[in-house]
């Protein structure tokens, strides 16, 4: 050894080597390693910063046949011009992934039940639930069925082409992002990489949206109510709404007697089944599913508009998040053009327009959300149906065994009794293919024919075209139930016997499902209210799932009594804040308060007497009304639940006033309709047998005391209780927006924040609202308007992360730039141009 080396040198070297080992140990074997990995200057979080700004560039990507031109307009909207459909969908996949890759991955994971590996054990129960309901099983079946059909069926053939091209585009971006270290930082922080996208993932997205829109456990609740309340249940959960309704598809006559009896014919369950139903109710745990059921669509024909052409308005209410659920784009290739909003994983607009037609969607919310429950006899290997034993189908997903009978997945099993779910979304439905066909439609016939293939989720498709036609179809496959012995079927709104005595005989013929074309009054309004009246000759569900119909009534009456309606009028109508429940209830409330000498009642009366029923942010009367209504709700129904023994046995089942606007409650439209009926008529029998005047006064006193408690200075304007909130999908508050006030409204108004456990408590705003405010001008579709409250990019450092929110929160719109030729977009409207060239 060199004599210049001393003991000190060995020590220094030893320390250095040990320190290196220590750092490597931290990097690879401890949680701190993620921090080191994220801090890597090259492939840590910083590369994602280059994704944050929009830039003109030329890229070479795999799979393209020809170059594709993409223009980004000044609002951040993408306009994609390709020479063929394959390249169009491939380019769209690339662009959507560039803006939403983490969201894409998160939604497919949520759908399949695979969140806990990345987000932790707190997601294990929701993962198991997602596995149980069968999203992955159905998505795989859907894709395989589409592949088979593609050999003979044009729609299926186009679907295969579209989804394979789209998947290639997404995967091209994943490759690009990995090569350039531009993966969203969530992947780095969660220490995993995205798997390649496949068409099955698009069908998983379809399942997830079906789950968001048409999926529910109402039938369990109804059975449990009947178990405790008996026939009183049918007075609380009424077959048809007790308050005025707009049935867009008609059937306004007297109730069909047979159907009414079927709705009221609830199958009695025993205590063992009741416990199973309650257990499943408590396990009902879909992740990231926000409140639903408050959407609006209305169309008015040209003979009522100032343009002499139809105007179509869309306002689908969905849960808010950042990144937002929608992505906005125009996709264009020879013979094909469409503009609209796209869901994650879907390369075709769900709502939008082409050169000929415009369309928008709302949720149908009929027939128990398309979710039926049966009690079936099973053993370890077989299930019993129609006097025969059949083998149970076993699936193994992520290490979990899933068992299906002929109805669907076994959700709960005790001994030889199984509670089985038949969810319509588990049947085959090629929604991407239908949406593609709609986008290609030139007229009502093509639009209508395409929708015949839409099976789930049930959606109202409003329509208008440049030839001045308007229409609506509540598309979906609606089952018709029968009994083996030809007796009256048990209500499918509740749990049914599943051993074969009750079965699905067939489906309502497509020509008979709710629909209308060019109605004589020139008005179509479909805002989640029941689409058909009581004389409809098919079972179509009770009042549990449909919205109370106040929003539809406000819109319909405006359109009915106005002519020369302009685009601006439609915009104003979309943000109308009139609470019709208040309009109907207030005479009874004021009369009751006038007879009271209580000082709280007198204070409330002084505000309410001069109120215009508008839920405006600066109104104190609006707050007072909402609290009186809520207190009355608690006083009526919570009293009823306790008296009948429904509580405490099933105390986790807590409906809440105004569509579940209160924290830890959910919406049950039947109860809101009952209460509005009670308050508007002054008659509570048989639900509430006490004095209605006393109910109102007592509710007012407790409401005013609560408000006094919240705001001793008396500043309880509605803005303190009603606001909007955009939670980040990451859960980080720094990436969330809100609460923001500025818009008014409530559950009964057109602009509904969608309640669902948010307000009306101070600082607890709702996480939803009209997710895409859309006005299609059929005189000149290039002069249409729309905005969604979010931003195109999921990158929080991007200027396009939440840039639409300030516009939306003011009730304003953006003009939609729609140009069949990219040269027709003026330079002043362009912020960047991307050219995608075929590589190799």
């Amino acid at each position: 050894m060199n004599k210049g080396v001393k003991r000190k040198d060995h020590i220094v070297l030893g320390i250095a080597v040990l320190f290196l080992i220590f750092i490597l140990f931290l990097s690879y074997f401890t949680p701190i390693g993620v921090l080191f990995k994220a801090s890597n200057p090259d492939n840590g979080i910083y590369g994602y910063s280059l994704n944050a700004f929009v830039r003109s560039e030329t890229l070479n990507i795999k799979g393209l046949y020809n170059p594709v031109k993409i223009i980004i307009d000044k609002n951040g909207v993408y306009h994609i011009y390709a020479s063929n459909l394959h390249d169009l969908f491939l380019a769209f996949g690339f662009i959507q992934a560039e803006n939403r890759l983490f969201q894409l991955d998160l939604i497919r994971r949520a759908s399949i039940g695979n969140l806990s590996p990345i987000l932790g054990s707190s997601y294990q129960s929701s993962d198991l639930f997602q596995l149980k309901i069968g999203n992955l099983i159905t998505a795989e079946k859907d894709w395989n069925e589409t592949l088979i059909l593609a050999k003979t069926n044009k729609m299926a053939n186009q679907t295969v082409m579209m989804l394979e091209a789209y998947s290639q585009g997404v995967n091209d971006y994943i490759s690009y992002a990995e090569a350039h270290n531009e993966l969203p930082f969530e992947f780095v922080l969660l220490n995993y990489k995205p798997q390649p996208w496949t068409p099955i993932d698009t069908f998983l997205g379809q399942q997830y949206m079906a789950e968001s829109l048409e999926f529910g456990d109402d039938a369990l609740i109804l059975s449990l109510m009947y178990y405790k309340m008996g026939n009183l249940t049918n007075k609380v959960i009424q077959p048809f709404s007790p308050i005025p309704q707009v049935y867009y598809a008609g059937y306004n006559g007297n109730p069909n007697e047979t159907i009414t009896k079927e709705i009221e014919n609830i199958w009695p369950i025993n205590s063992s089944i009741a416990q199973m139903a309650y257990q499943l109710y408590n396990e009902w745990d879909p992740p990231f599913i926000n409140p639903h059921g408050h959407s609006n669509e209305f169309v008015v024909s040209g003979n009522k508009t100032s343009t002499t052409y139809p105007i179509l308005v869309g306002g689908p209410v969905l849960g808010f998040s950042l990144p937002f659920i929608w992505f906005e784009a125009q996709i264009e290739s020879p013979g094909f053009d469409a503009f609209g909003v796209f869901l994650p994983g879907l390369p075709i607009p769900v709502i939008g327009f082409n050169q000929y037609i415009a369309w928008t969607l709302t949720d149908v919310q009929s027939i128990s959300w398309g979710t039926y429950f049966f009690i079936q006899t099973v053993n370890n290997t077989d299930y019993y149906f129609n006097k025969t034993w059949y083998p149970i189908e076993h699936y193994y997903v992520n290490g979990v065994e899933l068992n299906w009978t002929n109805w669907g997945p076994i959700m709960i099993e005790k001994g030889n009794i199984a509670l089985v779910m038949d969810w319509l979304a588990n049947n085959y439905s090629n929604d991407p293919g239908v949406l593609l066909s709609i986008s290609q439609a030139h007229n009502w016939t093509e639009f209508y024919d395409a929708l015949q293939n839409w099976h789930a989720p049930y959606q109202n498709f409003a329509y208008a075209d440049i030839n001045k036609n308007i229409g609506d179809v509540s598309a979906g496959t609606y089952p018709v139930f029968s009994m083996y012995n030809n007796s009256l079927p048990y209500s499918p709104d509740a749990i049914m016997p599943g051993n074969g005595e009750e079965f699905i005989r067939g489906y309502i013929p497509y020509q008979k499902i709710p629909q209308v074309f060019n109605p004589s009054d020139g008005i179509i309004v479909s805002s989640n209210q029941r689409q058909v009246g009581p004389s409809y000759p098919y079972w179509y569900g009770n009042t549990m799932s449909f919205s109370p119909g106040t929003r539809a009534w406000v819109v319909y009456n405006y359109l009915l009594y106005h002519n020369n309606i302009s685009i601006q009028d439609m915009m104003n109508l979309q943000w109308n804040e009139t609470d019709l429940a208040a309009v109907w209830s207030m005479p009874t409330i004021i009369k009751a308060l006038e007879n009271s000498s209580n000082p709280y009642a007198k204070t409330a009366l002084s505000y309410l007497k001069s109120w215009n029923y508008i839920m405006s942010p600066d109104s104190k009367a609006a707050t007072i009304w909402f609290y009186i209504y809520s207190e009355a709700y608690f006083n009526v129904f919570y009293k009823l639940f306790n008296e009948t023994g429904f509580w405490p046995e099933f105390e986790n089942i807590r409906p809440g006033p105004a569509g579940g606007s209160w924290p830890n409650t959910f919406g049950l439209a039947s109860l809101d309709e009952d209460l509005i009926h009670i308050l508007s008529t002054g008659n509570g029998t048989p639900i509430y047998n006490g004095s209605i005047d006393s109910l109102i006064v007592n509710s007012t006193i407790s409401a005013m005391k609560l408000l006094e408690n919240y705001y001793p200075n008396g500043n309880y304007t509605w803005a303190n209780f009603y606001g909007f909130y955009w939670p980040s999908l990451t859960g980080a508050s720094a990436l969330s927006v809100g609460p923001l006030s500025g818009l008014g409204g409530d559950y009964f108004t057109i602009n509904d924040q969608s309640g669902g456990g948010g307000g009306p408590l101070p600082t607890s705003p709702g996480p939803g609202g009209q997710s895409w405010t859309f006005i299609a001008n059929l005189k000149n579709l290039s002069n249409s308007y729309g905005v969604y409250p979010g931003g195109q990019s999921e990158n929080p450092a991007s200027n396009y992360y939440d840039n639409y929110i300030p516009i939306w929160i003011k009730g304003e719109y953006l003009p939609l730039i729609f140009a069949s030729n990219p040269n027709n977009i003026s330079q002043s409207n362009i912020i960047a141009t991307i050219i995608l060239n075929p590589s190799g």
Partner: protein, 118 residues
Amino acid sequence: MRDFFRYLIVFVITLILGYIILFSGIWVLTVIAGFIPSIIFSKKYLKALISSFSGGIISSLLFLFNYIALGGPIFKIAYFAGAVAGLPGSLFLIISILLTGIYCIIGSIIGTYIRKII
């Protein structure tokens, strides 16, 4: 004076090598950036340590500056990533800069030691 130039060279070579090696994405390899100049020029640990550490952190700074030059808002990204991770965003930046320096120090100590024994 000769020492000053000696360690200036160590600093410059560490900086250049560190900058280049960072492109590999294998962060630990920046040990080499400290090692090579030290094995050639370094005789004293403290001076080697200071010059290689300086070279390392400046190579990281230059590397991060690339993103800024290209328009990448790295401070915002660090802030938001920190918010998601429940940490101050500046922690990412501090680690990004310091760890390169530390790797270079380790390389430089090993380099100096080997120079001493050969």
